[in-house]
């Protein structure tokens, strides 16, 4: 589109003027602004200028999130000791001190039903070592395991919510009770803006977190304003983008003229509402919508990919097709300049991975849907040279208890794992550790916001320089980059 519809990040009073600053309109506006606003000494816009604070190593992020709590002891932090003591209560093992009350205090709302799994359960999947690093991985994740030399596993995460509100916490760093806060994706886009004119900078794929556990807050922007919230593309649905083309045979030029007038009128309405984040988001939504009419259908043309690529993502197989498509679309979005792609798997209710019973079947089936596509994504990014500056993050809200809950495992916030790859991450390393039975994170403990800090750091952002006046941030909100896994 033409300059009249230039990307409208950071439209302030002044940029309203600049954008419409031609002819009499600009003069009239200037007069109004002078009378009404700036002379009163409005504080300078605190907004970032879209430039990183230092040289970035990553330009885009693919954020994979598995809803419900993936077992850490059977994925990327396997614990052979559990096989050794399977069937014994923790008190009968050398590790009985894990249950000392002082060690359990971080968890909010200690649910007696969610904490008392004391009889240890053996591993439900074999474990193998992979790659030169010899990373031990449960077979449920063998395809990702085969990429061991490209990923950095963090085995010492902890969170505080013992329920699935931890899904929100993983994305914002705050307990669900505290309400909505900007997500990591929103911070990234707020700090850096978009890389492209045609697609949203923050795209959400898959079925997000259920309403119980954060709902749309898990990809929301909260006080950063709706323009930084994730935009869902329902690529699984019949109609990924409803109303994608104009009714009534309007040509693109005609529509552009309409949208251009609309943009000018909306900006004029902004005179009385300077810095209105909703208005800004609305203006941006029209500019994006105009381009998305062509860019989204083009991006979703997966049939243009080679059979080898489709196979790599498992799109040729029914089990892996759905998630493979999400992963492939993520790559295509990043190729087209999307800054942050957030893929949910198993969203809704507490989450599909919430294996309170029959974990062998639950995790067996679910990992079969996603393991190959995730590995395919890593391989594809690598073979295209995209892994250099695309950061991939694999995460879940908490781990699962070393102790059995019948045939399942319970929630486990005291220790769990995630991994990162590409975009400036040191490949083939393991950082931090849980104790021998995977109960507590004991070595290099990291709260979830350390992952956020790592992501922002690799994007070239210092979260402390994204401060917004009047918004109190806590020390724990910033986190600390996990330096050991940064190349």
């Amino acid at each position: 589109m033409r300059p009249s519809c230039s990307p409208c990040r950071g439209i302030t009073r002044r940029t309203f003027l600049a954008d419409t600053g031609m002819g009499f309109t600009g003069l009239a506006l200037g007069a109004m602004l002078f009378r009404d606003g700036i002379a009163r000494g409005e504080p300078a816009s605190p907004e970032p200028d879209g430039q990183p604070h230092f040289t970035p190593k990553a330009r885009a992020v693919i954020w994979l999130f598995f809803c419900g709590g993936v077992s850490h002891v059977e994925s990327f932090d396997p614990k052979p000791e559990l096989n050794k003591y399977a069937g014994k209560t923790i008190d009968d093992t050398p590790y009985k001190d894990v249950l000392h009350p002082d060690k359990l205090k971080n968890v909010i709302a200690p649910n007696p039903n969610h904490g008392g799994r004391k009889v240890l359960m053996g591993l439900n999947t074999p474990v193998r070592r992979h790659g030169q690093s010899g990373l031990a991985v449960g077979d449920w994740w063998q395809h990702v395991g085969a990429c061991a030399d490209d990923i950095a596993v963090v085995r010492s995460l902890w969170t505080t919510d013992n329920d699935h509100g931890a899904q929100l916490q993983w994305h914002t760093g705050r307990h669900v009770r505290e309400g909505p806060f900007p997500t990591i994706g929103a911070w990234a886009c707020y700090g850096l803006g978009t890389l492209n004119q045609n697609l949203p900078e923050y795209v959400v794929l898959g079925t997000p977190t259920g309403d119980c556990c954060g709902g749309e807050w898990t990809y929301g922007a909260a006080y950063l304003g709706p323009e930084y919230a994730g935009v869902r593309l329902n690529i699984d649905g019949k109609d990924p983008l409803p109303f994608v083309s104009p009714a009534g045979g309007k040509t693109r030029d005609d529509q552009e003229a309409e949208f251009s007038l609309l943009g000018r009128l909306n900006r004029l309405a902004g005179i009385d509402y300077p810095d209105d984040p909703v208005l800004r988001a609305r203006i941006k939504s029209y500019e994006l919508a105009f381009r998305m009419q062509t860019s989204v259908p083009e991006t979703l043309q997966l049939e243009k990919e080679s059979p080898a690529t489709l196979k790599l993502y498992g799109i040729d197989q029914p089990t892996t097709r759905a998630f493979g498509r999400l992963c492939l679309v993520a790559r295509r979005l990043v190729e087209r300049g999307v800054r942050f792609v957030q893929i949910f798997h198993g969203g809704g209710g507490g989450g599909a991975w919430d294996a309170h019973s029959n974990i062998a079947q639950n995790h067996g089936n679910l990992s079969a849907q996603v393991d190959k596509p995730v590995a395919g994504l890593l391989r594809d990014l690598k073979q295209r040279g995209m892994l250099e500056d695309t950061l991939v993050v694999w995460g879940t809200e908490f781990g699962r208890s070393p102790g059995a809950q019948g045939t399942g495992r319970d929630h486990h916030p005291q220790g769990f794992c995630a991994w990162l790859a590409g975009g400036g991450i040191k490949p083939g390393v393991v950082h931090g550790a849980t104790d021998e039975i995977g109960f507590h994170a004991v070595e290099h403990r990291h709260y979830v916001t350390d992952i956020h800090a790592t992501v922002l750091h690799l994007l070239g952002l210092d979260p402390r320089r994204l401060e917004i006046p009047g918004r109190k941030r806590l020390e724990i909100d910033y986190g600390e980059p996990i330096w050991d896994i940064i190349a």
Partner: protein, 897 residues
């Protein structure tokens, strides 16, 4: 001490009668109360069982009386005392009472120990002098926070004193005083009153969900009388569209859903539930009291068992129907009723005692027992015997005796069958739970098929059967005549054709006899029924009538058997191959049997009609529950409702967690105001219109929504309402307003749900379209319409998908075209006049000079927007359509300023 320990877990002792096994563990709810009491003043170390218990006090094996430390023991003793005195013994009060005591005797008062991070029940754990000195300031701050207005949502509503404020000229009613008090204490300046056009559009959209017409706009702008605005408010509150607008809001809270299922199978909610929606709209328009609405929705069948208008209200319960899970059905009923009316998350107590609020798992199942007996059914309505096509869907107690069991860990596979749980309510919520009295139901509630209209329609149906049979004879005769005429023409087949035609006449004539017999039998049976319903069973009249009915039934059976056999013998029945002979044999046997029956001596054992008959008694549980809810002594009902109403006027609630007023919810911005509103609401007879009137005529509501940097520096989120929060229209209001300004809206009220796929073409208001799982209008979904499962507060996203829906849908394109033509016809095509008219029509305001200039320039270069037009006239017309289309897409169109 043992006694007081039991009392220490008071919610385990239910209604003072049934003492369940007392858990000796420190209860998380008590810890939460401690956190609630001290808030940010509580040292992290004190957020621990050891504050009240011995370090080993929560372990099993320690005798009860030894589990508390001196601090805990003191609290327990005070609590026991309070309970004996009849108070609830709320922990907050107790903590206040012991703040200055020194329970452990270490020389430092309890409160001081707690804010310095030391255990008040452990004499060895004591702050040093420096820490005590340093904490004096903290203690003063804590005292200040304790003296602020006490938000006690679980205690009955007391009308607070309206604060005196400096800005008296700004205060139009008490709402403003409460708002101004917060403004003044924070240094906020209220924004000036909104411009008249802005205010008018705001109050129109807010109260009726439609914008003002240009005529209404001009009338208001030209009305300089002092009460011009109040007159508008009054008119809008009397508009039937008020009920549609606010009905949709309450449909969110009460979880309206049309039926969903697989093909024709109903799995979720029920057909015909739109009658409940109409009840909502009508009740609001009548300004029925909210207390009465609660009674009717939860227990309309017990309150007015024979009144179809009231019975509609129980659609509230019907909506939770789940074909494949009675468990989920009851869960939804219990948990959403608690969230919608009481503002508590009772669902947390399904598997375990509530972590935050003092509600036990046992109490969850007491509430479940209220609803356990109920079920849904569809009663006939006049004019439609087939209840799958239409009917009155309603709740009733189908299983009055069914027990409720506590499900261990909430798992329906593990009910605790040792003791059924009696119906009741959580004790901590207070209020007056009335004695449950079973309700004897009148006969038409028990046997709705005996209602006069059903009987009349049943008779009419039989009469109609006779009439149709007679017509069939005429038709058969005509065919026979035609067949006979055919024989004159002469064909070999002729005799057979004629014989078949004559047989058809005979069969049709027999069918007339049968139909007449059915009618006669019905009338005779009805006569017996009538005697029985008069209590005259076994009277002589009854014996006579019953014998006659039986005789008619037997005669009818013989007639039907003869007819069937005759037809089979004549080959008139669809016979399948070699089985014809067997079939005839069967029919012969049937006839013989019928004749043998007939030959017996007369008897009274007639066969009664098969009728839907329901229990004659309703448990009265739901009515008692509803009366408890709708009583002024209930602490939460009015508070929760007013919070919902406030949310929908201002776009932000006073208690942000509208469904959770408990400890896990977020605190209110204006606790005193909410209490005042709740008190006023009840004093106004629970009249919603009175409260709307009060709110929308306040200065608070009339403020401009424009920002202000000085205020924003103090209160960035406008929590204290220094301006009117601008907000986006809800999905339904976007569509309704589009149709309205486009001149297409059909204002018809009520009626059956309309196919959701017709949303872009059928111009009815959005609330009338089908809305259920997988049956929702795409256009509405894009604008965050109500989630079918719960929608206590709408989302307000801004997405490119919304831009595409407004820009590209056939709806907006069609409306723009029609509206541009109408405006051109009205004001002509001269650009300035057209632009002014278009702004007033679509945005309900005149354009600014800058807007006018932009739009005129646009119309004066029509080729830019109508590149394919063949003539200048066509281009100009299309430019006008485009201009209207742009205004329909304007941010101001979807925004309430």
């Amino acid at each position: 001490m043992s006694q007081s320990c039991k009392r220490w877990a008071p919610v385990g002792a239910v209604l003072g009668t049934l003492v369940v096994a007392v858990s000796a563990e420190a209860r998380p709810a008590h810890k939460a109360a401690l956190v609630g009491y001290l808030g940010s003043f509580l040292d992290k170390r004190l957020n621990d069982c050891r504050t009240c218990h011995r370090p080993d006090g929560t372990r099993e094996g320690i005798p009860l009386q030894e589990r508390h430390n001196p601090f805990g023991a003191r609290l327990a003793a005070l609590r026991a005392e309070a309970l004996r005195a009849g108070s609830t013994g709320e922990l907050t009060r107790l903590l206040d009472a012991v703040a200055d005591e020194d329970s452990d005797g270490d020389g430092v008062p309890n409160l001081m120990e707690m804010v310095t991070g030391h255990f008040p029940g452990d004499a060895d754990d004591v702050p040093n002098a420096a820490a005590v000195a340093a904490a004096r300031k903290t203690l003063a701050e804590f005292a200040k926070s304790r003296s602020a207005y006490a938000w006690r949502p679980f205690e009955p509503v007391q009308r607070p004193v309206v604060p005196a404020v400096h800005r008296r000229g700004w205060v139009r009613n008490p709402i403003d005083a409460f708002i101004a008090a917060e403004h003044e204490s924070r240094g906020l300046q209220p924004r000036p009153e909104a411009p008249k056009a802005v205010l008018l559009r705001r109050v129109y959209l807010d109260l009726i969900g439609l914008p003002p017409t240009p005529e209404e706009l001009h009338a208001f702008l030209n009305d300089s009388s002092a009460d011009a605005y109040e007159k508008v408010v009054e008119r809008l509150l009397q508009s039937p569209h008020y009920g549609e607008r606010w009905g949709r809001h309450w449909m969110d809270v009460w979880r309206y859903s049309d039926w969903a299922g697989f093909g024709p199978e109903v799995r979720d909610s029920q057909p015909h539930i739109w009658r409940w929606r109409d009840w909502i709209v009508e009740s609001l328009n009548q300004d029925k009291g909210y207390d009465r609405m609660i009674l009717e929705m939860l227990a309309g069948d017990e309150l007015a068992p024979e009144d179809p208008d009231t019975l509609r209200a129980t659609g509230y319960l019907v909506r939770n129907f789940k074909r494949y899970s009675r468990e989920k059905w009851l869960q939804d009923t219990v948990e959403h009723t608690a969230q919608a009316f009481v503002g508590i998350t009772l669902g947390c107590a399904r598997c375990h005692d509530h972590f935050y609020d003092p509600i036990t798992q046992h109490e969850y199942y007491q509430v479940r027992a209220i609803f356990e007996p109920h079920h849904v059914r569809i009663d006939r309505l006049p004019g439609q015997p087939d209840v799958t096509k239409d009917g009155l869907v309603r709740a009733f107690d189908a299983q009055p005796e069914v027990p409720t069991y506590l499900l261990i860990r909430g798992d329906d596979r593990t009910p605790d069958k040792s003791a059924p749980i009696p119906p009741g309510v959580p004790r901590t919520l207070g209020g007056k739970f009335p004695t449950i009295a079973p309700i004897a139901l009148p006969r038409w509630a028990v046997t709705p098929d005996k209602r006069p209209f059903v009987i009349e329609e049943t008779i009419a149906a039989e009469r109609n059967g006779v009439e149709q049979a007679r017509q069939a004879v005429t038709v058969a005769r005509r065919r026979a005549a035609a067949a006979a005429a055919g024989t004159v023409a002469g064909t070999w087949a002729a005799p057979a054709v004629v014989r078949r035609a004559l047989d058809a006449i005979s069969l049709a004539e027999q069918d007339v006899t049968i139909a007449e017999g059915r009618l006669e039998t019905l009338l005779k049976v009805l006569r017996v029924e009538s005697l029985e319903d008069q209590g005259r069973k076994d009277s002589d009249d009854w014996k006579e009538a019953a014998k006659e009915a039986r005789a008619a039934q037997l005669r009818q059976a013989v007639a039907e058997a003869r007819r069937n056999l005759w037809a089979a013998e004549r080959g008139l029945l669809p016979a399948s191959g070699g089985k014809a002979a067997a079939k005839i044999a069967d029919l012969q046997k049937a006839l013989a049997q019928a004749e043998a029956e007939w030959a017996r001596p007369p008897a009274t054992n007639y066969k009664p009609r098969s009728l839907n008959t329901y229990p004659a008694t309703s448990t009265g549980r739901r009515l008692a529950f509803a009366r408890w809810l709708a009583d002024r002594s209930h602490p939460l009902t009015a508070r929760v409702a007013m919070n919902h109403i406030w949310l929908r006027h201002f776009g932000q609630a006073i208690v942000p967690t509208v469904f959770d007023f408990g400890r896990n919810g977020r605190p209110p911005s204006h606790p005193a105001l909410l209490d005042w509103l709740a008190a006023e609401f009840m004093d106004q007879g629970w009249s919603m219109k009175a409260m709307h009137r009060l709110i929308v005529t306040s200065s608070t509501y009339r403020q401009a929504s424009t920002p202000d940097p000085a205020n924003a520096a103090i209160d960035r989120d406008n929590r204290y309402l220094w301006r009117m929060p601008p907000r986006r229209l809800e999905a339904e209001a976007v569509r309704d307003a589009l149709l309205f300004v486009g001149g297409e809206l059909d204002p018809k009220l009520g009626g059956p749900d309309i196919d959701h796929n017709l949303g872009l073409t059928v111009p009815r208001r959005s609330l009338y379209f089908r809305h259920a799982q997988e049956k929702q209008m795409e256009f509405l979904k894009i604008f965050d319409c109500a989630s079918v499962t719960e929608s206590y507060q709408r989302k307000e996203s801004v997405l490119p998908q919304q831009a595409l829906a407004l820009a590209n849908s056939e709806l907006t394109v069609r409306l723009s075209r029609g509206l541009a033509q109408r405006l051109s016809a009205r004001v002509g095509t001269e650009p300035v006049a057209f632009v002014r008219a278009a702004f007033e029509q679509v945005l309900s305001r005149p354009p600014t000079d800058a807007e006018l200039a932009e739009c005129v320039a646009f119309l004066e270069a029509p080729q830019r927007v109508a590149s394919t037009a063949r003539t200048p006239g066509e281009a100009a017309a299309r430019a006008r359509e485009s201009l209207v289309h742009v205004l329909l897409n304007h941010h101001d169109f979807v925004t309430i300023r």
